[in-house]
Symmetry: C3
């Protein structure tokens, strides 16, 4: 029961984050809905494709996509409120991320993946939807950039799951792995933890260039 | 017979649209050909992957890819003419889109997809190639933006197919669904129908920024 | 034996090229690692997905991903050296590319793909990781642009493999096809061979626009 609540809550939060990006980019309602679906179930679908589980459960049953549609409609209708509540969305997203990372790993083990592959596919379940969202919206994927620690907590949660599964129970692994991933993510947000990047002088920083361009443009066109 | 003509005509038109983008972006001939193949058969390949039908029929047989290559060569050779005939290309594309949406749904039902999944996968067949084209060309996917109603007619066509299939014949579903999707698409083009977007004040409109940048640049470099 | 050395060397070189892009884009260490994995094994994973070989061998066993991680760490630590040795990286990459194109085709034949599909999937094995790298990094894919001949040698290598396989031995096909692809790639680099593009006056050249924008920005902000 709590498993289903967490699953659909996670899908809804991811879908809402996709819908916000769609609203921001000026997509039409259907584009917003497609982006919400891609973000909400993209990770699970990619995991199922890589496992050879066809058709992917998130497409075969009506509930996950319908949750994404509802989340897209509500997010578009109350877009300003959702943007204002972004702190809450971040917390819910951290919970959903941890849950997807560990259940993704568990489902992978059940489908015959090695523990090594299961840890990878758990992370894929948690982050692939967000990566697809950013690719479609023509952004550098947030989860790979330096501003946020997202993929690392997902990986850690999946690894914790695998470690516990290999010596004991799946459910304990899901519970502990989810909590570890979520807590690490929340701590990273709260304390602004960041992983190091490569040597700074080698960066080709597009943000800076764009900032300069906007400044240049606004100076010329008041 | 008419089924095969429609299928290859649809692939050829999609491939030509991919080739035009490749020409515009300054890709070399091989890049143009790859983009034409991706656009022409990308939707069908993605549908087959999501259905678990391996290897995808569009790759296993020589005809679909060869049609894409021929379309790429002709489009590149007569690029100005193709761009001039863009109205005709839009009409042919609308016919191909409707046909792919309904046959994609029919093939999905045949492979054991639920009606719900079949409607989704019909839409995927019709729009995924175009989305891939725009992602590779570093554009915001046309089908998701506000300037055009493309995904919604595809979805409607697939839904009409599923509704008719569930009470009767596949062939009637394909025929009626295709016509509905194509007519809605053509009407949307003719009458500039658009779906609403989210609140306009939330848009981060990249086009405007770029326009300003170009203006700034051209003022400085005459 | 030499087969495994070539395979892991090819994965390592591809992963290093992905890591360099990640360093340049200012990704954090985990983002760099994910990009290295995507570039290093992305082509092989996509080939396995299109063949229906699940879970993809590159994910199921620990070695390929681990090689990517090690390559990512070393590349980040010695990023300046790797960039300085870019000539050597190009040569190693050409060898890996040829090897992946032919072994990818061979594996496809073994999995029941037609010779036609095998030639395509050999090319996919060789170039898909690089295309994914560039899409995630928000670049127009290098292999499709006009500045480099990359996909065409991969295609030729896969075709040579298929031609030899159809009349004789797989191993001869892999050896000859790999050498042909690698030599053509190296010749294209050395002699600046390029394939033609579409009519130049139709290009919408983003590079030029960006150059102008940077120039404009730097003039305004010294």
């Amino acid at each position: 029961m709590i498993q289903h609540i967490l699953e659909y809550a996670g899908i809804a939060v991811l879908a809402a984050s996709g819908a916000v990006v769609g609203v921001r980019k000026g997509f039409d309602l259907f584009g917003i809905a497609v982006l919400a679906v891609l973000t909400g179930i993209g990770g699970n679908v990619m995991r199922d494709v890589l496992l050879g589980a066809f058709p992917p459960a998130s497409l075969q049953h009506w509930a996950p996509v319908t949750v994404c549609f509802v989340a897209a409609v509500l997010t578009t209708a109350f877009a300003k409120l959702v943007i204002k509540l972004s702190q809450l969305v971040l917390v819910l997203d951290a919970i959903g991320m941890g849950f997807f990372a560990t259940t993704g790993a568990a489902i992978s083990v059940d489908h015959g993946a090695s523990y090594f592959a299961a840890a990878l596919l758990g992370m894929v379940s948690a982050i692939a939807g967000t990566i697809m969202r950013d690719i479609v919206a023509r952004e550098v994927p947030m989860v790979m950039g330096p501003d946020d620690m997202y993929a690392a907590p997902a990986m850690l949660g999946a690894v914790v799951y695998v470690a516990i599964d290999s010596v004991g129970s799946q459910w304990l692994g899901v519970a502990v792995g989810s909590i570890v991933a979520t807590l690490l993510r929340l701590a990273a947000i709260t304390f602004h933890w960041r992983l190091p990047t490569g040597p700074r002088e080698l960066h080709v920083n597009p943000a800076t260039v764009e900032d300069r361009q906007c400044a240049a443009a606004s100076q010329l066109r008041p």
